[in-house]
Symmetry: C2
Subunit: 340 residues, 2 copies
């Protein structure tokens, strides 16, 4: 898909230029300051699928296919910086030592400062805060019509606040897993980018509603794919430790399905590994086998496919323009297949 390659290249190039300017500015303050820019630049540029800018772009094409998508570039870069901010903070909260095939930011900064865990964590929190401020800079520096600017700012604020509550509910292991996921991931991964594309394209109400009907099941499917990868994924592809979700005791769709389906013996095997950060590889493998044996993995895979079908069906809405429908469909297909 050439358009997707172009969207990615455009965002990457904008980010590179932005980080270069930030590095220069930091160097002008104090030699030490560059370390924080380097930390967020390294994570941001190391992989990343640029899914959020791609969704914004496709939504824009679904409402304003004749306009120049270059207006989206700063906001696309801002979405990636928002994600960097969230990943940096969450990885520390969740004790994740790896991200995108390298050390997470708090782990890297801890090693750079003599193994001092509190200093590494503190600097990582600051690096995340810097990424957040940078995202706001990219969101507010544009020269767009005022009505668009207001809507873009509002959409960005909403994402920014919802992810905080989502991560809070995750830390507290809330029983309402679906709400938690909707706030923690769905808002800034799918709904937010779609609404940003709609804002820049000055979408009609009917178009916004159609995009939301597409986004709701897509967001849920995205989360299920994440759950599958976090438990069964190949760490070489995901760039994270294998089965970190099980060791962290996350209430994933897989675990919830298994608890419904498993008998007492199978539950015991699952419980042994779940939430035990020091669980042996054998215990993890046994828990994974339970998830397969009781049919939890197959159930989640089926539900994921059904959700993607719902998303594709929502695109049959006449209010959306063909160019964008095609691209949104392609993104749903790709999400169905993604392995990282």
């Amino acid at each position: 898909m050439r358009w997707l390659t172009e969207v990615r290249a455009g965002v990457d190039e904008r980010l590179e230029r932005y980080f270069e300017a930030k590095r220069d500015a930091a160097r002008g303050l104090a030699p030490e300051s560059v370390e924080l820019v380097d930390a967020i630049a390294a994570l941001t540029m190391r992989g990343g699928k640029r899914l959020r800018p791609a969704l914004m772009h496709a939504a824009f094409c679904a409402v304003a296919p004749d306009r120049d998508p270059a207006v989206l570039l700063d906001t696309g870069a801002a979405l990636e910086l928002l994600q960097t901010y969230l990943l940096v903070h969450d990885d520390w909260m969740d004790h994740d030592e790896e991200r995108r095939g390298g050390p997470s930011v708090h782990a890297a900064l801890r090693e750079a400062h003599g193994g001092d865990a509190h200093l590494g964590a503190s600097l990582a929190i600051l690096a995340g805060n810097l990424a957040s401020a940078c995202a706001w800079e990219l969101i507010t520096r544009g020269e767009h019509p005022r009505a668009i600017e207001r809507e873009v700012t509002r959409a960005f604020l909403r994402m920014h606040q919802e992810v905080v509550y989502g991560q809070q509910l995750d830390l507290l292991a809330t029983s309402d897993v679906s709400l938690m996921q909707q706030l923690k991931t769905g808002s800034y991964t799918v709904r937010g980018p779609l609404m940003l594309g709609a804002a820049f394209g000055e979408a009609s109400d009917a178009q916004r509603e159609a995009l939301l009907r597409y986004g709701r099941p897509l967001g849920e499917a995205f989360q299920m794919r994440d759950d599958l990868l976090g438990t069964f994924g190949d760490s070489g592809a995901t760039g994270k430790a294998v089965s970190s979700d099980l060791r962290e005791g996350k209430r994933t769709a897989l675990v919830l399905a298994a608890e419904r389906r498993a008998d007492a013996a199978a539950r015991a095997d699952l419980t042994r590994a779940l939430g035990d950060r020091g669980a042996s590889d054998e215990a993890i493998e046994a828990a994974r086998e339970v998830l397969v044996r009781v049919g939890a993995k197959a159930e989640v895979e089926e539900r994921l496919e059904a959700l993607l079908d719902d998303a594709r069906r929502a695109l049959e809405d006449d209010s959306l323009r063909e160019l964008g429908r095609e691209r949104l469909r392609a993104l749903a297909d790709q999400l169905g297949r993604r392995d990282r």
Copy 2:
């Protein structure tokens, strides 16, 4: 000073109403979510001198004394929320357990969650992030002329980024203490609020320069007062543990002056307490006596007075209007006397 009481009351009332709306919104998400709003509301409303909104107000009066200062209210509330965000994160980084006469946010959330230090810290980081997002909401939701909005956003962004670098340099115990303080405290405490008042009042270049000539020594004086209070202050008035600066090993103006002035024996007394979190009250008292005996305390007090004189002199600039000059002078006088 009736104007100052009115500025404080106006900001407090705006903050109360804002938190009430945020509580309602959080309650609509999940019952747990209110805890984060309560955490930042408790810290924000528990004292706080509203110095930053007052400086913004006085600067506004120095350039546009005939305009209605009600346009400043949301931004005044945003400055307080920016401070809340920074205090919450910094208190965790600096191991400060008390703030404004109550528990710091990570300490309160740790106790609310069974003494789990990592969970308390994680929730505190989220509470700080929420305060940051709320500050942005208040900054961007106004209906001001576009040129003013752009300048306000730029000033806010600058503060937001400079404090990150300032705190980083503080954590790394940089040798350039003056730069660190300028970035960490001066930017969002004095310079930023003055430039926000200038932006809302559409100040001339000459007026901006005069305000900056006032702000530079005032910011330095503010930091010195902070150093004096953090070492010699009465914890009942400051709301922080006594001499936490010494136990944290901060490179305050007092310590720097003492190192220049002290002989080997006095240095040894100072070094014994400095940076030792478990230092006995006797060791702290001995270190304080060194600071007095070698003249470091007197030196810093004298420099503080000289800086305040510089600030007052900068107000003799004809480009500034009398109402604002009076109020800026009053704030400098007050800062010279503050005990918390």
